[in-house]
Amino acid sequence: MALSGVEIFKLLPKTNCKKCGHPTCLAFAMKLAQRQATLDLCPDVSEEARKILGEASAPPVRPITFGTGDKAVKMGEETVLFRHDKKFVNPCVLAVEIKDTLSESDIIKKIEEVLSSELDRVGQKLRVDAIALTNASGDKGKFEAAAKIISSKAPNVPVILSTTDPSSAEAAVKIFTGKRPVIFGANSGNAEAMANIAKAEKAILGVTANSLDELSALTEKIKSLGVEDMVIDSGAKKAKDIIGNNTLIRRAAIKKNFKALGYPVINFAQRDDSLHEALIAAVGIAKYASIIVLSSIEKWKNLALFTLRQNIYTDPQVPMQVEQKIYKLGEPNQDSPLMITTNFSLTYFIVSGEIENSKVPSRLAVMDCEGLSVLTAWAAGKFTASKIAAFIKESGIENEVKHRELIIPGYVAILSGSIEEKLEGWKITVGPREANGLPAFLKARAA
């Protein structure tokens, strides 16, 4: 159970020595309770207090870094159940399964799909993050051989090694020594052996069970064997059980601070039907999965899942922004219309979408207004006549278009006169108030 500021205060030295940088021990305690400070700032705290506070102040879902280097992915650290309360922290890892029954060339083909999966969307690089090698053959040699192919062709991609046989796991994990793979995994039958391997190799241990009771008992046992970094699988395969178990795990961790389930969750979404698999993955992305294993990664599917993951993990308090510049929509020439709007991503998407729908090639000047929409930016003094005039002047657009006409959003019609004053030689035209009026507006002008 998380401790309150006052409960924490009782455990501090109460000397108000200020060595932690806070004016009083109480102020420091309040910061600790809000997870805005860490206990190591206090040089005088007792061992006993450190132990109690350390356990209570650990994040409810254990932070774990999977893999190493620039392709390593962070998992866990979540603090809320609903994204409107606070940003979901570490986007769910998408992994593709490679079975060790595949031929070498098929394995290489899949690896290449992973390596070429990276896309850029709204300035973020998105990709299939990991490979899950499955010991489908049940044969140790085949598993090891496939692991070697992966390690040589994709040395930087984080890997899940999926086998329940400890000797196969040990053989394969040694190929990834120092690379923080996941061994998947430990069950009630092999927990000790698997824990020993994970401990020796400093690997993350996947733990699987058939119920949340069994899973809790198993993670406690494995922790007592000295393995701290685990990812957990409740055995859920059907969508109904994925949403049910993932919800109960997240609630237990966050609302009850129940440590035995305070680990990142792994879900298996593999289905014969690729679209169905994508939708099961969508359920996992929305509802608390930290790793989702897929059987195939077609480009259309990646784009949809990457985008959903990005949407769900966006910070609800920080508006998504697009880069300030003049965007070309269609293939505009020097006579094509020029419009202006703000850089709130939703505004940009809707306005550019409607311009594209109009099929009238155009330019859209997107001005940095700190991610505010048109009316809000205008009200906040960020979308003003002088700022618009300066942006247009400095953009160099005067060398690109022959005309001198700027179309402004209908909501800021009031600005038209003052922009004309400040932007010499330009004519300001008031466009529609709503983006959905743009196709009719642009078509009427073009006619």
């Binding site: 409107h84 896309l119 949340l212 969508a239 949403i243 679209l275 994508a278 939708l279 959903l308 939703l346």
Partner: protein, 314 residues
């Protein structure tokens, strides 16, 4: 430390709303838990997906979603029958887009005739939507509501600018009503209050918090829906308890991701599969945030989402 399942009991529930008449009438909503959390409460109905059709041929739809209807979409009656009989649609949503002043500007009388013709050809529940022109929708939806009197249709969308006339028409002709506001829980609550203050039964309302497509503001719709549902359940806020609509198809099939050919954006993969996945993924995400009624376009996307709904409930 033994595991104790942290189950929740909520004080509120979502109203159950039914549509249609006779053997094919259907209900949605009615649950007293968050979406698909059947482990801690009752979920009496599955979400309902309606196939979207319109009063004029879908020339403005992208080719990949026009194609499945190419032989039937010239006429709304044939189109509706195809959805019901061949695609096994459980409900149909007729959008009277041709009444928009910037489009064909069809008259309320024309719209009423289309509604009558479609209704006489089908027996599944019908949703009747205007063209989303607040001014024109008022006379169009009055005519449509009268033409479908006592058929227990779902009429929409009533917005702040026109709710009085549309709600009155829905009430007088025994229909259910969609109340739409723009991505704001407070606006949504306020509109529901205004409509019920007219004497409209709150248990006959459906809330549309405004849909957005995956990648185009989906997270806003998602969070507004989640907040509305939490207000309904945890605070027992009666004004937030109508089931929610996700009008998915219209928002999804106008963005670049559902249209751009693979030759233009090789990294995005096959355009047809991408469009279908985009619609189905948007719908699935909104099911997670609380939508009980969905309006969709592509038969394969509907089929895939129905399959997920089965798996989420069974």
């Amino acid at each position: 430390m033994a595991f104790v399942a942290p189950k929740e009991t909520y004080s509120g529930k979502v109203y159950q709303v039914n549509a249609g008449t006779g053997a094919n009438a259907l209900s949605f909503g009615g649950e007293n838990v968050l979406p698909f959390n059947s482990f801690e409460g009752t979920v009496p109905n599955k979400p309902l997906i309606a196939y979207e059709i319109q009063d004029i041929p879908p020339a403005d739809w992208p080719e990949n979603v026009q194609k499945p209807y190419s032989s039937v979409s010239g006429d709304p009656v044939t189109w509706a029958k195809f959805c019901q009989d061949t695609l096994k649609a459980k409900a149909i949503a007729l959008r009277l887009i041709g009444t928009h002043p910037d489009r064909e500007n069809r008259s309320p009388e024309d719209a009423a005739k289309t509604v009558k013709d479609v209704l006489s050809a089908i027996n599944v529940p019908l949703i009747i939507l205007g063209s989303n022109n607040a001014e024109k929708d008022a006379p169009v939806l009055i005519a449509a509501a009268e033409a479908s009197k006592d058929k227990n249709c779902i009429i929409g969308k009533a917005q702040e600018a026109n709710y009085k006339t549309i709600a009155a028409a829905a009430m007088a002709n025994n229909h259910k009503l969609i109340a739409m506001s723009e991505l704001d829980i407070n606006l949504s609550k306020q509109l529901n209050i205004l409509i019920t203050q007219m004497g409209f039964d709150k248990e006959r309302l459906i809330t549309d918090p405004m849909c957005s497509a995956l990648g185009y503001g989906l997270e806003y719709t998602y969070s507004v829906m989640e907040r509305i549902r939490l207000a309904a359940l945890t605070q027992n806020d009666l004004t937030m308890q109508p089931p929610m609509l996700a009008d998915v198809g219209m928002y999804v099939w106008k963005i670049k991701e559902t249209q751009a050919p693979e030759s233009e954006v090789p990294l995005w993969g096959n355009a047809e599969e991408r469009g279908i996945a985009w619609e189905a993924t948007t719908a699935t995400a909104l099911l997670m945030s609380g939508a009980e009624l969905l309006i969709m376009r592509h038969p394969k996307a509907v089929e895939a989402v129905e399959k997920v709904i089965e798996e989420l409930g069974g």
